[in-house]
């Protein structure tokens, strides 16, 4: 299954990945805060992820690793 | 030492720098030092070295910073207003602990001033080269031979202590021609593990930087640097002592004015006045040991400079109120004459009931 892994050390909850995902699979986690106090991005539905890597392309903090099945 | 050749001061500096292994020269024309740059522009391309006329003295000192940071031996030269432009760059070099040689062929100031010789950049060189707590080693040659010798050694001193070094000359020394024995060529290459010239995947990365936002880190850097300065003060002070063994009047002068004073001292001695000359060769570290060695025996000090009174403050500091310190000087490009200085010595001798 393709998926993205978001490293919360780096994620600042800027939302660029959320805006760019063509399948709207990413959201900012309302339940969680990173150690720096950001709401980190999370992949809501890995089954629909195609590893297009648009999220990682836009991520200014290089927080996203993309795994292609 | 090779045979003597007749050379202009500015050119002797350039030739000696090349022989010391100076790899890069970045400069900009300004009277009265332009011959140095012109000499480098002719010699360096043939030696496979880097010569570049920068767009300004500011750009030149920043090119020096870049080249020095890669570990190269590098020099720039200018004159008073151009040295002011280099202030920030010099501070950055000190803050990043970079070696380099900066030549100031002093002219009259302040502002655009004049193009004739002066010594009015003493404060700038020893106190205010740039912002922040730092010192630059300042060497003051007084002959064309010394222009060559001091710059030849300056590169070694700069590397040894990782600090910028200034050669503080003036327009007279820069323009005059005297016989000089040129030193032997050396490569000047030393091991610089701190240099940032591309890590080649063989070592950790190096960063050339003077920014330390954490206050304790910045204070620590300053403290370590001043510990190095203490070593420099202990080891590197130099002054020429001329007829000081029994001197009751001690004249202190550097560079071009020391030449004038020497003649005046000789004339005063010929009429029986016990006068001597201390000629600082390092202006920073100031040769306080030399002053100390005569302060008890001296009745009075006389400082002669081509400015409104700058080095006299350092002499007064070293003398610490124990003896009086007079000052005589000219500025604006006027060089005191031996007669004028002799008359000052006579005046002081008369005061003390010497005659």
């Amino acid at each position: 299954m393709s998926k993205i892994i978001i490293d919360e050390t780096y994620c600042k909850g800027c939302g660029l990945c959320v805006a760019v995902c063509p399948r709207a699979l990413i959201s900012l986690d309302a339940e969680k805060l990173t150690p720096k106090g950001y709401r980190p991005a999370k992949l809501d539905d890995a089954s629909k992820c195609t590893a297009c890597a648009m999220c990682a392309t836009m991520c200014p903090d290089v927080a996203i690793t993309v795994v292609k099945e | 030492m090779s045979e003597k050749v007749l050379m202009k001061g500015n050119e002797a500096i350039a030739e000696a720098a090349l022989r010391a292994g100076c790899q890069c020269f970045f400069g900009y024309p300004i009277t009265p030092q332009t011959e140095l740059a012109a000499y480098m522009s002719k010699r360096m391309p043939k030696m496979g070295r880097v010569y570049l006329q920068a767009e300004s003295e500011i750009a030149a000192i920043n090119m020096v910073y870049g080249a020095a940071g890669t570990g190269a031996r590098v020099m720039t030269s200018s004159s008073s207003p151009g040295i002011s432009l280099k202030s920030e760059g010099i501070s950055y070099m000190a803050g990043a602990d970079l070696p380099g040689v900066i030549v100031n062929i002093t002219r009259g100031g302040p502002g655009l001033g004049g193009i004739q010789p002066a010594q009015s950049d003493y404060w700038q060189a020893t106190r205010a080269a740039g912002h922040g707590d730092f010192h630059m080693i300042v060497l003051a040659p007084s002959t064309v031979q010394e222009m060559a010798d001091e710059v030849y050694n300056a590169f070694d001193i700069a590397d040894r202590y990782r600090t910028p070094v200034m050669i503080l000359g003036d327009g007279m020394l820069g323009q005059m021609m005297e016989p000089v024995s040129l030193p032997e060529e050396k490569s000047g290459k030393t091991d610089k593990p701190w240099a940032a010239d591309g890590h080649r995947n063989k070592r950790k990365k190096n960063v050339i930087n003077s920014l330390f936002l954490k206050p304790q880190a910045l204070e620590d850097r300053n403290i370590e640097r001043f510990e190095r300065y203490d070593v420099i003060k202990k080891n590197e002070q130099r002054a020429e002592m001329y007829l000081t063994d029994d001197a009751e009047i001690v004249v202190v002068a550097f560079g071009a004015s020391a030449r004038v004073v020497r003649s005046a001292v000789d004339r005063a001695r010929s009429v029986g006045i016990k006068v001597g000359l201390i000629r600082p060769i390092t202006l920073w570290p100031y040769p306080t040991d030399a002053i100390e060695s005569v302060v008890d025996q001296a009745k009075k000090f006389l400082v002669v400079e081509m400015n409104m009174g700058q080095m006299v403050e350092d002499v007064r500091l070293a003398v610490a109120g124990r003896k009086a310190v007079d000052f005589f000087g000219h500025t604006g490009g006027i060089i005191p004459t031996p007669t004028e200085v002799f008359e000052q010595i006579e005046r002081i001798a008369a005061e003390k009931g010497e005659e």
Binding site: - | V74, G89, D197, N209
Partner: protein, 271 residues
């Protein structure tokens, strides 16, 4: 289990960037690091950081780095490159650093055809110091030092840097790109990669101007900042290639300059 097709480049340290959330500096840094990895040049690369938000870029790249005085990165880069032309030297600068205090160094390094790569982050504002007017701030743009909007009768007009530099014979590549969409990010990466490749091939001076955002000082969210940029900055700073000597059919800046001299002396129109 699956193949990792996108990860942190090796040429970036593991350090978290000090940039604001959504700041395009991070994307630019990542592209440079990816290119360093792809070209295998980390060992011979020396980067020069400016004064500005990216002052601590020396903490983010794994190659040797210099911190330069404000505006002087091209001069520092010149010193580094001239000592060892085998090194790949890049200068990374913001709009104050490159186009205000450093304009002389910028123009002269370009004019000399220094074989360096300059990455110019143009976000029309001074970020680090809290949002003052930049030489690239737009007419009417509200900043801390233009609180009623940039008044062109007092402060003059913004500077289009790549256009300005594209007049100089020393420039091998001058291109303006942006980072608001994955397509633009990929175009930007191609441009930056070309700029590095031109340096390695000794073609001449390269500059890539990256039209960027400053969400914090523009007072907009990262996404809204991209929209503001599209609506206001891109019309003033059009994307495109303003000089590419190889695309014009020349090997390097010297061949192009010789050709131009020839044309001018024959009274022919400038190409």
């Amino acid at each position: 289990m699956g193949e990792i097709i996108f990860k942190r480049p090796d040429a970036l340290e593991d350090t978290v960037f000090s940039y604001c959330p959504g700041c395009t500096h991070g994307i630019s840094h990542r592209l440079i690091a990816e290119i360093i990895d792809e070209l295998g040049i980390e060992g011979t690369t020396v980067g020069v950081a400016p004064v500005g938000c990216s002052v601590m870029a020396y903490d983010f790249f794994t190659c040797d780095m210099f911190e330069a005085a404000h505006g002087r990165a091209p001069a520092v880069a010149t010193g580094i490159k001239r000592v060892n032309p085998d090194n790949v030297v890049f200068a990374y600068q913001g709009d104050g650093d490159l186009a205000s205090i450093g304009m002389a160094e910028t123009v002269h390094a370009a004019s000399r055809g220094e074989n360096i790569t300059v990455i110019f982050i143009n976000n029309a504002i001074y970020g680090m110091t809290g949002g003052q007017m930049a030489p690239t701030s737009l007419p009417g743009q509200v900043t801390q030092t233009s609180p009623f909007g940039r008044d062109v009768t007092q402060a003059g007009y913004p500077i289009r840097v790549v256009e300005l530099l594209s007049e100089l014979d020393g420039v091998a590549l001058a291109q303006r790109v942006t980072l608001d969409t994955p397509k633009h990010v990929r175009e930007a990466k191609r441009a930056i990669k070309k700029a590095f490749e031109y340096q390695i091939a000794g073609v001449g001076y390269s500059i890539v101007e990256i039209v960027s955002t400053c969400p914090t000082n523009w007072g907009l969210s990262p996404q809204d900042a991209f929209q503001w940029m599209r609506d206001n900055m891109l019309p003033y700073y059009p994307l495109g290639v303003y000089r590419d000597v190889k695309a014009e059919g020349f090997d390097n800046i010297h061949d192009r300059a010789a050709d131009k001299r020839e044309r001018l002396s024959c009274g022919k129109d400038e190409k």
